[in-house]
Symmetry: C2
Subunit: 333 residues, 2 copies
């Protein structure tokens, strides 16, 4: 079987470009015992992958130069030499960005592509959903009537985090990058208020007006000036779930901003940087809850689906210009 696979051609300095990726064509070997042949169906592009393009030790291993790029993929089993999977099954796995690939069945998780859209396993029922769940439930911990601010609110994690906060009885304010996204958050996803950071004259003042009693919890996906503005409005004993810093991922120099620590001190702020794998022993719990909420219609999903294997670099780069509403996915024909 022939396959096409993306390799990391070069490491970017600053904003990545499509040229950092290169497609290589090859022929897959014969299946060995326990392996399955997979046809990629939906490939996930995620902001955290920007870190994997760097040759710097971080929480996710670097992609190696000249080697396949990989991440979350939903795929169909074409052929199986494993007893646990059959041809026609749909699976989730950490797989190369490839049209076809071979993997050991025990590294794959069978999913039900009938009950929900298969892309959900890369979004609300996958890593982004679990990230939102643990960040909100374990760090932000909003109580009824508390005010929660979510940055990057129209992204895959933020849109889920905001809905989870609503389910805890909190008032939720989302920060996003277009009027259209803001409208969607309010009208389709139940956010109480929104701020368009691209057109706001002062994010700090807008938050102050919307949160006269202070911000009780902040779910941060973006960092930078937006976060500086939110931190000015934190209330006493407030919590920050530090989930992402997408505004900084392409910076070639360190952002110099106001020191936030004196504010964290005088307001007794709790801040926790986290990655979803911190909670890997509780993924079962998180997933059951998310499946229940999605099934009951209490949490909705938004997906931006780009079609075509050749569009993968473009879809990935789109994350940094806010091209996505909710989860960004690439559908492979």
């Amino acid at each position: 079987m022939k396959t096409s696979i993306y390799i990391l051609a070069s490491r970017p300095s600053g904003l990545p470009s499509p040229e950092n990726f290169l497609i290589e064509n090859s022929v897959l070997p014969e299946l060995k015992e326990g392996e399955v042949l997979l046809k990629s169906w939906y490939i996930s592009v995620d902001p955290y992958m920007r870190g994997r393009m760097n040759d710097v030790k971080s929480y996710a291993a670097s992609w190696e130069l000249g080697q396949p790029v990989s991440g979350g993929v939903v795929a169909s089993v074409l052929e199986s030499k494993s007893k646990s999977l059959n041809s026609g099954d749909t699976v989730f796995g950490m797989l190369p960005w490839a049209t076809y690939s071979i993997e050991n069945a025990d590294k794959l998780r069978k999913v039900d592509a009938q009950k929900v859209h298969p892309g959900y396993y890369l979004g609300v029922l996958g890593m982004p959903g679990l990230t939102a769940y643990f960040g909100m439930k374990e760090i932000c911990k909003p109580g009824p009537g508390e005010t929660v601010v979510v940055s990057g609110a129209a992204g895959a994690v933020g849109i889920t985090a905001g809905q989870i906060a609503k389910l805890q009885g909190a008032r939720v304010i989302g920060i996003a990058g277009s009027d259209e996204k803001c409208r969607m958050l309010r009208e389709e996803f139940g956010f109480d208020e929104t701020i368009n950071y691209k057109t706001s004259k002062s994010i700090r003042k807008e938050i102050a007006e919307l949160c006269p009693g202070g911000v009780d919890a902040y779910f941060d996906n973006v960092g930078g000036e937006i976060t500086d503005a939110v931190v000015q409005n934190l209330g006493f004993n407030s919590r920050i779930a530090l989930c992402g810093q997408i505004s900084q991922y392409n910076s070639t120099k360190i952002y110099l901003g106001p020191t936030l620590l004196p504010m964290f001190l005088t307001r007794s702020v709790l801040l926790k940087g986290f990655i979803v794998s911190n909670y890997s022993d509780r993924f079962g719990e998180g997933l059951s809850q998310l499946i229940q909420w999605v099934t009951e219609g209490k949490i909705k999903s938004a997906q931006t689906i780009i079609e075509g294997f050749d569009k993968l670099p473009e879809a990935f780069l789109g994350l940094f210009s806010g091209a996505n509403k909710g989860k960004m996915l690439v559908k492979i024909d």
Copy 2:
């Protein structure tokens, strides 16, 4: 009875000066039922009082212009109209900076000035000791073999925090502002390593050399560039007890520094800003433990005692130039 009492004459911009304080002489009224007449013995000056000089809402109420300045005081009871206290008793209270004062007995705590030095109730067995105890035990939580960095290590809180970390089996690195303080921390207080931040060519590099496995916990009393240097060396799942930011208290503009959030994110850092009153329901537990450690000689105290009521402003200002080793106290004749 005549008394002299400090009032806040003006609010400083930047570094306070002695002129911000003014002594007023007055005559105390007759004692009412339940009250005691007190002669101040030791008056505490603490970094957090700098915030009380500002007209800004914070965790400690502002001192009012033209009104008495107050804080922790150890005093002798001269005369009592309360059944709970007798003439000759030693008490701790939140009292004005005065030579003599009157207070309700139920707002005072009787202390034993025979068993330990009376100044201890303002230091290791007082607010600074409890601050060190809860910050280290509840936030830093060092395990055996872990590496803990303490900034402001030769101050009242830092010197206690470092010793508590040692009692948890941790390796402790103190950052202080003179070779003499560093020597004291190592030779008299059991710190494993020290860094003199005033002579260090690169605090960041010194910490990197001393902590090749990364810093597991950081007890921060100072903020600013020292903290920026420590944060660069934080390990995965590390903790920051954010206790003080003395380097920033006299700033008239906000310190612009490198954003620390991306480091907090990728290293899953927990940061908690705190003030000792967050743990007020557990002061009994903390105090019992501290008394036991002090009695057993496991925690030592350092005090810098300035003599003379007229030296109070000078002693307070000395906190910001590092004039103190351990707890800064003013002894009233």
